[in-house]
Every structure is written in C-alpha cells, then in structure tokens.
C-alpha cells in the first residue's frame, strides 16, 4: 500500500474537480483548500468559501523525469511541471500527450482526467488530474 485508499478518497474533490477555496477577506484562492488564510489568519476563520477552479493555467517551470518512481517507470521520460493556475495557486503535475520538445515555460495547459497510480494489479486504482496542451 502506498498513500492508501482512505487518503485518496478524502482528496477526491481536489483530484477530480479542482475544488479549492477562497478567503472571504482578501479574496486569495487556495488549492488544495486551506483551513484558514495564512495572510488574514483569524479574520479568515469561518470565512473561507469553497470554489471550483477551471483547471487551466500555464507552465512556470518544468523538468523531465528519466528515472521514474514506482508506477511511473513505464512512462519515462515524462515532464513534470509547476503550473500556475488561472485563479492564482501553483501546483505540480505531470504533462501528458505532448512531445517533450513542445513543453516550455509559458505553455498554456488544461487538465485531463487520468489514472495517477494503482496498488499493483489487485489493489485500488487512483484517478486525478494531469495536464495537456490547451486546445486552441
């Protein structure tokens, strides 16, 4: 067992649907969602609103993985990027369906629903977002 079924299950709203939240005081958006706003602290408590992010953004920086961890060996070489989402938060995610020489800083990307990992051939399958080039 890796991260475990329970943890993946709890994270389904983020992994499937980009559910983050927004501070009602300073309007900053957080993904994954936070209990309180680190800028407004006490003022934000009870004032955090759930929002669905669009799952679109652009590549801030990236690297190409040549020696992948378990479950990802079959996909090497593949790009992992830090993506700045349209709403502000930055996340790390895999870029798929894109030739390596087309991955670059500033590339506009959008989310796609993929298998992230699985507990071997008998365990649970975990799904979530990866990113691909934005459709023109």
């Amino acid at each position: 067992m890796k991260a475990g079924v329970a943890r993946f299950w709890r994270e389904i709203p983020q992994r499937y649907n980009f559910i983050g939240n927004k501070c009602g005081t300073c309007e900053r958006v957080f993904f994954p969602p936070r209990e309180s706003c680190p800028y407004c602290r006490r003022k934000s408590i009870g004032n955090m609103k759930e929002i669905k992010l669009a799952g679109k953004g652009e590549v801030v920086t990236y690297t190409v993985i040549h020696v992948g961890p378990e479950d990802f060996e079959e996909q090497t070489p593949y790009p992992i990027a830090i993506i700045k989402l349209e709403e502000g938060p930055q996340i790390t995610a895999q870029i798929v369906d894109c030739p390596l020489d087309e991955v670059k800083i500033g590339l506009k990307v959008e989310s796609t629903f993929r298998k992230i990992q699985q507990d071997g051939h008998t365990g649970a399958i975990y799904y979530g977002y990866k990113f691909k080039k934005q459709r023109q």
Binding site: I12, Y16, N17, K52, E74, Q75, V96, D97, P99, T112, F113, R114, K115, I116, H121, I125, Y127, K130, R135
Partner: protein, 356 residues
Amino acid sequence: MPLVGFTMEQIGIVSYGAHIPRYRIKAEVIAAVWGKDGQAISRGLGIFEKSVPSVDQDTATISVEAIRAALKRCTLNPTDIGAIYVGSESHPYAVKPTGTIVGEAIGATPDLMVADYEFACKAGTAAIQTCFGLVKAGMIDYGVAIGADTSQAAPGDALEYSASAGGAAFIIGRTNVIATINHTLSYTTDTPDFWRRAEMKYPSHGGRFTGEPAYFKHITNCATNLMTKAGTKPQDYTYAIFHQPNGKFPVNVAKKLGFTIDQVKQGLMVPYIGNTYSGASMIGLASVLDVAKPGDRIFMTSYGSGAGSDGFDMTVTNNITRLSRQKAPTIAQLVADKEYVDYGTYAKMTNLLFWE
C-alpha cells in the same frame, strides 16, 4: 425531411462528446512484427491504423473526458443529471462501477442512479435505451449514456489490427433536444461468436462464425424491424451508422440493406482509429452530429457479440444550431490529433507483456 405530422414525444439527445486517445499504431507496423503483409491486411480489413491508450488511460478516464466534452457544449447543470450508465467490455474493475467514478468527476453525485453495462460492443447503445426509457417514464430529467473501451487482443491475433480505444457520451433528455429518438428497438439471440471468460485478459472468438450468423444477421434483422416500425426506407435517411468492427462489415451490411456509401461515410471512423468496441457506433454518431443540420434523419444500428443489435431512428432538430458544438473537439479533430508509436511502445503502453 418533412417534420409535418411529427407527434412523437420529443425525447432524445441533448448534447454529446467523445474522446479518442492520441496515440496511433499503423496496421502495417503490427503486421511487420508477425511477418505478415501489412498492406494486404489493411486492405482486407479496411483499417489503416488504430488508437492506442496511454498507460494512464482506461475506460473510466475516456468516459470522463467524453462526458466532460458533452457538458462543455451545453449549459446543463451536472446536478440535474439523474442517471449514468456506462457500457464497456473493459471496465477497469470487475467489481466497482465505472459510473461512480464518472459521476463524481462531473459533479453529478450523490442523487444519481448508476450502473455499468456489459454487452460487448453494444453496451453503450443499451445505455441510451435505458436513459430514453427513464426520461420517458418521467423518472429523470436527464440521463447520461456512455460507450467506451480500451479493448485488447492477444498479440498476433487477427483482432490485434483492430482492437483500439475510445468512447462517446450522450446526454438524453426532453429539453433542448438536438436529435429526437423517434423509435428504438433491439434484436437479441444467444450466439457465441465472441466472448471473454471472467478471469481471462484476452477474448476468444468463433473465427468465421463472427460474420454471417452474428454481425450480419443481427444488424439486418434489427435494421429491417426498425424501418418497418418507423415506416421508413433507407432513402429517408441522411446518415446511417452501423457497428464497425472493421472497415468492410459496415459497408457491406449497409449495401445489403439498401443504404449508399454516401450515407455511411460520415459515421465510419474505424479505418482511422480501429474498433473502439462499445465506443464504435457511438463515435460514428458523434461524427454525424458534428456536421448534422436541422431536419437530417439518422439511422443507427449497433452490434454486440453474444449477440444483439440496438436500432435507432433519429431526427435532428433546430436546437442543434444553438448547441455550442465548437466548445469541444469534433471527431475529425480528435482523429487528426495523433502521434504514432512503434510496436515496442505499443506493447508497453497496453501492458501486453504482463500476465499472471
């Protein structure tokens, strides 16, 4: 096509979407591995290349991408969806419905009916019939029917040239209907032409038995019964879509029934993407809806081994001009967006090298 005297209840397709993985392998590349004449095989099957799923794609991910495309084209709120039925012969889990993953991924849960269907290549069209019935009965406002597969064939098997991946999703309802389903019926028998036992990775088939007593008999009877019920003739239709396990069968069955190649070609995608099984006739229907105009009449007959056919008589309405079709890729765009892989990469991507 005159819509005069049209008194049928206006239940039908509200929106549609599809997904085809972007990797392809050419039939001649597969043939070369087995020392066969690739061009002869391509000609014989009417298949030039087939889609290949990435290691991170399966029937659940293809289904989610297809229904998300359908939702992009319309303004439907996912919480108004009352049912999701996913038809496939390659559900990722033997026990744990694909529909639950799809429902969660589009925000349609938890007030939702869900079940997975299995009827070889016609499980998706069976899902359309279920949604149609539930809408007609007033039990739901909108239902989602999906047909998707990541089909596998044993290395070296004749089916290796065709078994591919893809899927399409249709939202069925009675508001903003872009194509009414005027009539639907099925033709079903117990015919062991193709099967896969529960514990097996690859299917078995009855060789030549798959043609005449299976595919042709069921499609011909279903199509004929449907035209009798609808009071129509082949010439009444703008487009006709038939299940497409290869490029030859659908063209031959169309001719036999009295349809022309011009009626069939818009919905014939198998030469470019292979046989997407539960996705096959539904991707054909999506391709037709990409270009359909108000008044066009559409005929569709699926086929699932085992065996059965589902027939649909549909009429495109004026609402199709208001659907934002451009908000999701057309089948032509999905077919054109591709990258070729060699046999080794294909074997790795589809896990051909793993067995227990």
